[in-house]
Amino acid sequence: MRIAGWGGTTRQDCRVSHPRSEAEVAARIAEGHAIARGAGRAYGDAAQSALNTVDMGRFDRMISFDAETGLLVAEAGVRLADVIAAFLPRGWFPAVTPGTKHVSVGGMVAADVHGKNHHRDGSFGAFVEFIDLMGPDGAVRRLTRGDNDEMFGWTLGGMGLTGVILRVGFRLRPVESGWIRQKSIVAGSLAEAMAAFEANAGATYSVAWIDCLARGVAMGRSILMLGEHASAAELPAERRAAPFGVPARRRLTVPFHAPGFALNGLTVRAFNHLYYAQGVKKAGESLVDWDSYFYPLDAIHGWNKIYGRRGFVQFQCAFPLATAEAGLAALLTEISRAGQGSFLAVLKRFGPQASRISFPMEGYTLALDFPLHARTTALLERLDRITLAEGGRFYLAKDARMTPHTLRKADKRMAEFIAMRERTGLAEAFSSTQSERLAL
């Protein structure tokens, strides 16, 4: 079966199984080279193994919910969209959510995903109470936060390389409505944008979209978007009766792969320009429904196909606070010089993060995407070098092309991860196309 990551650049013929019982998962693991696959929203080759891809989609049951503590126990294949559908009407929302709701709970743990509230609340792992993990011998262990069990830490952000996650207990957050009070701030430069992040450290959600084609003094100009869950009292009178009901969104579908020329330098330039102009015009406060606020791209079904058949690649790195401004400036300079705008360039402040292997670190993260062609590859390699030079690290959930050398240089923790995998028999049992490429 031919499968790929969300970027579409890693298409590969893989043997894919869909186990329905723990015994079947154990049987697949026993065959070696197994990797769990969730919803396939990682951009690269993290959730595929030519010999043994284990699709966890059939483990899609929610098991229990404690309305006192907000603790939801769910199987790994449960989709975040289903969690929201079931629990938002009862006044609960994911404590951390990535930019798409079409991810699985297992994938959220394995990438230890971050959201627009990382600066305040940390990554998804901060809300995970326990993980039921099936190891290389097929035995299931409940890994608990607080145990001095190191496997809990390695599994958060471990990209499926510590075993197959079967169930997760994680906390939701109480909310009074399905609406977000959004405030947009226009920042004329990178320094202004960063200053705005620092000045708004108290906001629950913050994220900036960068016009990455702007040059010179305007380089890094961006729209910073802050958000707060609206209380019932903050809703207009006509919405108060049904605070969780939001207007149905129109779904657009990209029916086929757009021809490559649909996204040339010109369209990207026009898009970035328009987006910025719109942002400037609409700056100020507004009330936005949860779906449009957190998941704007989900409204366009199959949006990844606009990049054409060859697909696209993401680039996401994080810099520590000390070097963030220099690192970001260097990246933006390189991108605007290359004239290859990214459709989506997103900047985000990360808060403190203590974890073994997860991607976030206190500082700033920049995410970009590019349609794939020869020139992009060269550009991305230059971006890698800049990131390394400024002490940054890379997000494996977005990676489809890095070299083992780059990864190891950027992330000293990988050596320990690799040694741990060798020591515990994980290396033979679990591997993905990504882990093989990166020699993990």
Binding site: M1, S17, I63, A86
Partner: protein, 245 residues
């Protein structure tokens, strides 16, 4: 108003689970019937947790026709809708030489489900209302070398459903025949199915719910199957017998 219960015979299958979810999402209580019903506890809990409806499990073996009455009597009441998802593909090659194996396929797809639905049909008729849903298969539309034992049993089941519909049309009881084309389930795991012709179980669930609401008689899940089967049905036998399908 509380909605009527939906009984699903074969509640463990991917298709059965998807149908259960589609109805539960609309607020119907769901009763899952299957062999080893204890193992369905996670599904039961999921249905109650997600949709806040009542969900129950019942032990059921479609081949134990002598226990059918008892099974139906032990239910909390007479359901509004009964869906038979039960089916068994078997191994065509084994069925060709082993009459016991062939009989098992025939009984699991035809005799058993027909007996179970007949029982509910009679009770629905007496009540004057109810919906009967049978999951049959396009394999029953024409026998093919690769699965005619299964196909013939499904053909019998399809004819049974159409007869039942005819009999009950004026009695307030509706009968829906579902002829799914390929569906990505345990039954087809590992087969190389054409993507465009293959439905996900969730699509079947939604299609069945819609068809029950709008009182459709026969549905294919993916509309393209209507066309595919029209072609297959119309190939002259003289040509069909020489084809490799």
């Amino acid at each position: 108003m509380t909605k009527g219960a939906v009984l699903i015979l074969g509640g463990r299958s991917d298709i059965g689970r998807a149908i259960a979810r589609a109805f539960a999402a609309e607020g119907h209580p769901v009763w899952l019937a299957a062999r080893n019903a204890d193992g369905l506890e996670p599904d039961r809990a999921d249905l109650e947790l997600r949709y806040r409806v009542e969900a129950k499990c019942f032990e059921f073996d479609v081949l134990a026709t002598h226990r059918l009455e008892g099974f139906a009597d032990a239910l909390p009441g007479l359901p509004e809708v009964v869906v038979s998802v039960v089916g068994y593909m078997g191994d065509q090659q084994v069925s060709e030489t082993d009459p016991e194996a062939a009989a098992r396929v025939m009984r699991s797809n035809f005799e058993g489900p027909a007996a179970a639905l007949a029982l509910f049909a009679n009770r629905f008729e007496a009540r004057g209302s109810g919906v009967i849903v049978g999951i049959s298969s396009v394999a029953g539309e024409r026998g093919r070398a690769t699965n005619y034992v299964y196909g013939s049993a499904k053909a019998g089941f399809t004819a049974f459903l159409s007869g039942l519909r005819n009999r009950l049309a004026k009695k307030g009881v509706h009968v829906l025949t579902v002829l799914p084309g390929f569906v990505a389930t345990a039954m087809t795991e590992g087969m190389d199915l054409p993507e465009k012709l293959t439905a996900q179980p969730e699509e079947v669930g939604r299609a069945v719910l819609r068809a029950v609401k709008s009182k459709r008689n026969v549905i294919y899940v993916k509309p393209v199957w209507c066309l595919v089967m029209a072609v297959i049905r119309n190939i002259p036998e003289a040509i069909f017998k020489g084809m490799k399908l």
